[in-house]
């Protein structure tokens, strides 16, 4: 140990250095514990332009534009806790655009993927018939906005 560390001043310096190391560890631990919520905020902000544009295109725009926006939104990485619900709504909107709310569930890939997304955040109310009814509501919302 160097001589300047042997006195009481040296011991104070060492103990403060240890406190600083502890603080670094604690700061990192706090960050890791709250990282998910920060990532969720960043993800929500990043998705907002596409989500708003998809909402606009679906309600007021052409089918092609709505489809492109909804597909772009599906491709954008997002936070796992929020994505399932949004994924379900996107799939239902795509189902409404494709007229899948009028077909049988077996012929409806988007109703099936909406059902899968629904089961990731819900334990009930995910049956395809109910989701098909929801897709019909989306289709009605689209036609009402365009009247």
């Amino acid at each position: 140990m160097p001589p300047w560390l042997r006195g009481w001043l040296g011991r104070i310096f060492l103990s403060h250095a240890l406190a600083l190391i502890g603080a670094t560890l604690a700061g990192n631990a706090y960050w890791n514990a709250h990282r998910a919520s920060t990532e969720s905020i960043v993800s929500t902000i990043t998705r907002k332009p596409l989500a708003d544009a998809a909402n606009l295109a679906f309600r007021f725009g052409s089918i092609d534009h709505a489809r492109v926006l909804l597909e772009e939104l599906q491709r954008t990485p997002s936070d796992a806790t929020l994505v399932s619900q949004e994924e379900m709504f996107n799939a239902l909107r795509l189902a409404a655009l494709n007229g899948e709310d009028q077909t049988t569930v077996a012929d409806s890939p988007h109703i099936r993927s909406a059902s899968l997304a629904c089961r990731r955040f819900r334990t009930s109310d995910c049956d395809p018939a109910r989701l098909q009814a929801l897709a019909t509501k989306f289709a009605q919302e689209r036609s009402t906005s365009r009247d």
Partner: protein
């Protein structure tokens, strides 16, 4: 300085070093994450839309949309532009953007409904 005062002073100074150090580390990690996100034009547009950032503090909407065009398909950037203009209340510019998209209704009443759909 008597013994008790020494102990209290030492405890306070250690606590201060610990609190400031931990806050700085957690803060710098959070700041780094937002700075990294800020390099993404979609995040910057989203931050202006959510009014987290002053629109004058970031590159212009058109500059961000141009840098987006490499990753997002063409009509998507135009619709994002329309959404951003509506949220900023620039209805005249939004009308022009809407007509450029060849959407069926671009009259002021429909633009008002579009804005209401975005900004309830």
């Amino acid at each position: 300085m008597n013994g008790a005062l020494k102990i209290v002073t030492l405890a306070v100074s250690h606590l201060l070093v610990f609190a400031v150090g931990a806050t700085c580390v957690a803060g710098s990690r959070t700041r780094a994450m937002f700075e990294a996100a800020g390099r993404d034009p979609l995040y910057r547009i989203g931050a202006v839309m959510t009014q987290l950032t002053d629109k004058n503090a970031t590159p212009s909407l058109d500059a961000d949309l141009t840098s987006l065009s490499g990753t997002v398909r063409a009509p998507a950037t135009q619709v994002i532009r329309l959404a951003a203009l509506l949220e900023q209340g620039r209805l005249n510019d939004a009308g022009v953007a809407c007509k450029a998209l060849a959407w069926p209704h671009c009259d002021p009443q429909t633009l008002g409904q579009m804005r209401k759909a975005l900004v309830p």
